[in-house]
Amino acid sequence: MSVVLAKGAEATLFLEQWYGMRVVRKHRIQKRYRVESLDKRLRRERTIREARTITAAKRAGVPTPIIFSVNVEAATIIMEHIKAHRLKERISVLSSNKRQRIFNQIGKSVALLHQTHICHGDLTTSNLLLHASGKIYFIDFGLATTTQSVEDLGTDIHLLRRALYSTHHIFWEGCFNAFKTGYQNKYGIGASRILRKVEAIESRGRYITERIR
C-alpha cells in the first residue's frame, strides 16, 4: 500500500507500511529541467544532509520525525509519519494567544538548532507541522548547513521573517515578536547579535548597481 501524501517542491511523499509501521517515504524526484549530473549531485547531497540533520536536530531537543532508513542512490528517506497539519494551513484559524505560544516555541527550537550550529535553510510555515498536542515538528532539512557564522544564522531567521511577512501579512508581526522572545530566552547571550544581523540583512538595499571597474 502506498498513497501520495503530498507533493512538495523537491519531493513526492508517500504514505506506506514498513515493517508494520505507517511511515512516510520522501522521494526526491528527478527534475527534467536540469542537467543529469547536476540533478544527481543535488538529490544525493540533500538526501544525506536531510537525514543527518534531522537526527542531529532531534538530539538537540527539536521535534522532528524519526529517520528509519536512507537510500542515497534512490534519493529516498523513510521516516516517521507525523499526524499533523502544515502550520501554513492552521495559522489563520488559531487564537492569537495560541499563535503567540506556538511562535514562542518555534523561537526556542530555532535557538536550539542554532546553538548546535544547525541552520535550517528553509524556514517557512510549509515546513513546520502543527501536531494535535500543540507541538511543532520541524521538517525538510535538505537545505540545512552546519555553520556558526552570524550572517548564516541571521539569514535563517530573515527567511522566516520574510516568509511570515509575505504569506501571513495580517499577523506576521505578532508571530515574529513571539518568535524573537522565544529565541532570545533560549539562546541567551549572543542572541541579540544574531537578531541585529537580521535587521541589517533586512535593511540592505536589494538593488545592487553594477560594480565600476
Binding site: 507533493k7 512538495g8 517542491a9 523537491e10 527534475k31 527534467r32 529541467y33 536540469r34 542537467v35 549530473s37 547536476l38 549531485r41 543535488l42 501554513k88 535553510g121 528553509d122 524556514l123 517557512t124 510549509s126 537545505l143 539569514t155 527567511l159 520574510r162 516568509a163 511577512y165 509575505s166 504569506t167 501579512h169 538595499g205 536589494r206 538593488y207 545592487i208 548597481t209 553594477e210 560594480r211 565600476i212 571597474r213
Partner: protein
Amino acid sequence: MFVLGIESTAHTFGIGIVDAEGMTLADAKSVYSPDEGGIHPREAAEHHQESCLLVLQKALSQASISLPQLCAVAFSQGPGLPPALRVGAVMARGLAYSLKIPLIGVNHCLAHVEHARYFSKAERPLIVYLSGGNTQLTTLEENRYRIFGETLDIALGNMLDMFGRAAKLKHPGGPKIEKLARHADGTYLSLPYTVKGMDLAFSGLLTAAKRLLKEGADLKSVCYSLQETAFSMVAEVVERALAHTQRTELLVTGGVAANNRLREMLQIVAQNQSACFASVPPKHAGDNGAMIAYTGLLLQRGKIETLLSASRVQPKWRLDQVEIVWD
C-alpha cells in the same frame, strides 16, 4: 488621451506612448553601451542627455501624435542609478509643467511586472522578475506585491553581464552567453550552486566560472555550465515558491526573460506544479518606455499623481513599498 512614459534607470533611455486602453503606440529607445567595462553612471547619464530629444521625436512620430495630445507624463522614479534617473525625471518634469498635465512617478520594477501581466492576462500569477538589476519572486496580495524570494547578492542579469566582460564579450553579455551555450557540446562543468529557501546568491558562481576561464576551460562549455547552474537555481526557487504559495499561474518578466533556455526550464517547473506558464513577449522584456507609460496609465486611473515637490528620484525604491490601488 495618451500617456507618455520615460525610462532611464540604467543603460536604456526609452520613451513609450500608450493609448487610453494601454495599447503601445510607440516604443522608442537608445541604449548606452560602454566600450569596455561595466556601466558608468555618469557616462550613462551623458548618453541619455544626448539622446533624449531624438528618442522623444521618434516616439511621437511612431505614435503619430503631437505633445498637446498627451494627458499625463510618467517617468521611472526608481530604483536605478541616480545620475541616469535624473535625466528622465528632469525631462518628465519639464514636459508635465509646460503641457500643464499630471506628472506620475513610476516604480521601475512595478512597470515590468504590470506590463507582463497586461500581455499575459494572468489573474493572480506568481511573478518572476529577472533583469540586470533585479531578481525577485512576487505575488500581489492585498494592495501590495509581496516578495517571496530574491537575490542575496547580485542580480542574475548583472552576473551574466559581469561574466561576459570577463570573457571579453561585448556588452550586454547575456545574449552572447546564450548563443555560445547553445553551441556547446553539452559538457557540464561542476559549479557552486547556492539557494537559501526561496533566495539565491550568484557571486560564488560568478567567481568560480571566471576561474574556469582563467584555467583555460572551453568558453562554450563554461557558458553552458554557467547558464545551466544559474537557471537551475532560479527554477528551483520558483518551484519552491509555487509549491508554497499554491498559485496556479507563473509569469516571467525582465530582460533575462528573453533567454530561451531559461523560459524552457521555467515551463517545465510550471508543468511540475500544474501551473500555467506565461512570459512577457521578448521584445518587451528589456527596459522600455512603454511599460512606464502603461503603468502611468494605471496610476492615473487610480487618481495617483506625483507633485513636483515629491518627484525626486528614489534610487532604492523597492517594489513592495508601492501601494497597489488596482488588482
